[in-house]
C-alpha cells in the first residue's frame, strides 16, 4: 500500500494560515490503514489546527470530510460535498489523491497534509516498511522475491558491496537504526529456495525507461 506520514504541524499551520474556511479531507484507503490520513487522523488534525489558531485573530475554521478514495476523480466529483465558502482543501491523501482533488476543484487550492513516503507492507502491527519503488520492470523473479531497487541503499544489482557487515548495511550507523543488507537477504533466500544459480546468472542491464525516466507513466484499459 501507499504509506504516508503527516507533515510537521507547524508546516501545515503555515500552509493554511491565509485561508478562512478550510475543508480537511481524509482518505479511506491506504492512509487510513497506515493510520496517518483516515477520518480519525483528519479529525485529530482539525482539532490540533483549531487549537493552534485559537489565540490568533480571524482564525480559519476547519470542517472534516472523508472519502473512501481520493484518487478516484468521478467519486470525488459525485460524492464529496464541499461546504459553501470553503476557500481551501487540506488533504490527508497521498500525492495522487491531492492531485486528483486539485484536478476536480480547479478554483480551490489543495494543500497536502502528508508526505507520501513509500509503497510498503505491514511487517508487524504498527510497522510499515518500504518494499517497492514502482520501477516498472520487476526483477523479483530473479532475486528471491526481495527487491534490491527498494531495499538496497545503492540500488545494486550484482550482489552486496563492501559496506555490508553481519547482514547489515553500512547506512545503519549513519541513520541510527539497523537496516538489513538487501543482498544478504536475497542470497539467503535464494539459498533456501535452492536457486542460488539465479545469483550467478549474467543479465541484461535493467530498463530504467520503465521508471520515470520516460515521463509520467500511464495505464489505459481499452475495450
Amino acid at each position: 500500500m501507499i504509506v504516508g506520514t503527516q507533515k510537521p504541524l507547524q508546516e501545515i499551520v503555515s500552509s493554511v494560515s491565509e485561508y478562512h474556511k478550510v475543508l480537511v479531507v481524509g482518505c479511506g484507503t491506504c492512509v487510513t490503514v497506515c493510520l496517518t490520513g483516515g477520518d480519525k487522523e483528519a479529525r485529530r488534525l482539525a482539532a490540533a489546527l483549531d487549537q493552534e489558531f485559537s489565540r490568533k485573530e480571524n482564525p480559519p475554521s476547519f470542517d472534516v470530510l472523508t472519502i473512501e478514495r481520493q484518487c478516484e476523480r468521478d467519486w470525488i466529483a459525485s460524492f464529496l460535498e464541499i461546504p459553501n465558502d470553503t476557500d481551501a482543501i487540506l488533504s490527508l491523501a497521498c500525492g495522487a489523491g491531492v492531485q486528483t482533488l486539485a484536478a476536480v476543484y480547479k478554483d480551490l487550492p489543495v494543500i497536502p497534509a502528508l508526505n507520501t513516503t513509500f509503497l510498503g507492507a505491514l511487517d508487524r502491527p504498527g510497522e510499515w516498511n518500504e518494499k517497492c519503488v514502482g520501477c516498472g520492470d520487476c526483477i523479483l523473479t530473479h532475486t528471491g522475491g526481495i527487491c534490491p531497487v527498494a531495499l538496497c541503499a545503492k540500488r545494486l544489482f550484482n550482489g552486496p558491496c563492501g559496506g555490508t557487515l553481519n547482514g547489515k548495511c553500512e547506512i545503519s550507523a549513519v541513520i541510527g537504526r539497523e537496516v538489513d543488507c538487501a543482498w544478504y537477504l536475497i542470497i539467503e533466500r535464494l539459498s533456501r529456495l535452492g536457486k542460488l544459480d539465479e545469483y550467478h546468472k549474467i543479465r541484461q542491464p535493467k530498463d530504467w525507461s520503465a521508471e520515470t525516466a520516460a515521463g509520467p507513466r500511464t495505464l489505459v484499459h481499452t475495450g
Partner: protein, 134 residues
Amino acid sequence: MSFFKVNEKCNGCLACVQNCPAGALNYMDKDASRKIYHNLSLCARCGNCWRICPQAAIDFQQLLRGGWDEVIEMELIHCMVCGEPVYTTGVGKTLSEKLEREVAALCPEHKKSFPLNTWKRIAQGRGLHTGNGK
C-alpha cells in the same frame, strides 16, 4: 448477511471498536446488554481488529471472503432458437424503445447467421419462444 463475524470467545471488551482506523465498528450499551455493530461500507478491511483482538475472537477470513448478497431478481429473455439467456425483459424493453422497433431475442451465435424469419420458422417448428421471452 453479516460479513463481520466473531466467535464465542468475544467478551465485548471493545478493543476492536477502539482500534478500528476506519471507524467501521461501533457499539451500543442499552439496559442489560451491549451490542457491537459493523459497517461494511466504512470498513477498509485492514485486519487491525483481528490483529489486536485479545480474545482471538474475530473471523477475519469471513470478512475477506464474504458471500454474495442477492441484489435483485429479474425475468430473462432467451434466444428464440437455442434457448440461451440473452438479456432481461427490462433490457429488451429499453432496446425496443431506443430502436423504436421490436427486437428479436437472438444470442450472438444466431443473431446474424440466417435471416430472422428463417429462425422464426425454425423456432416455431420446435415449439420454442419466438420473441421477448413469450
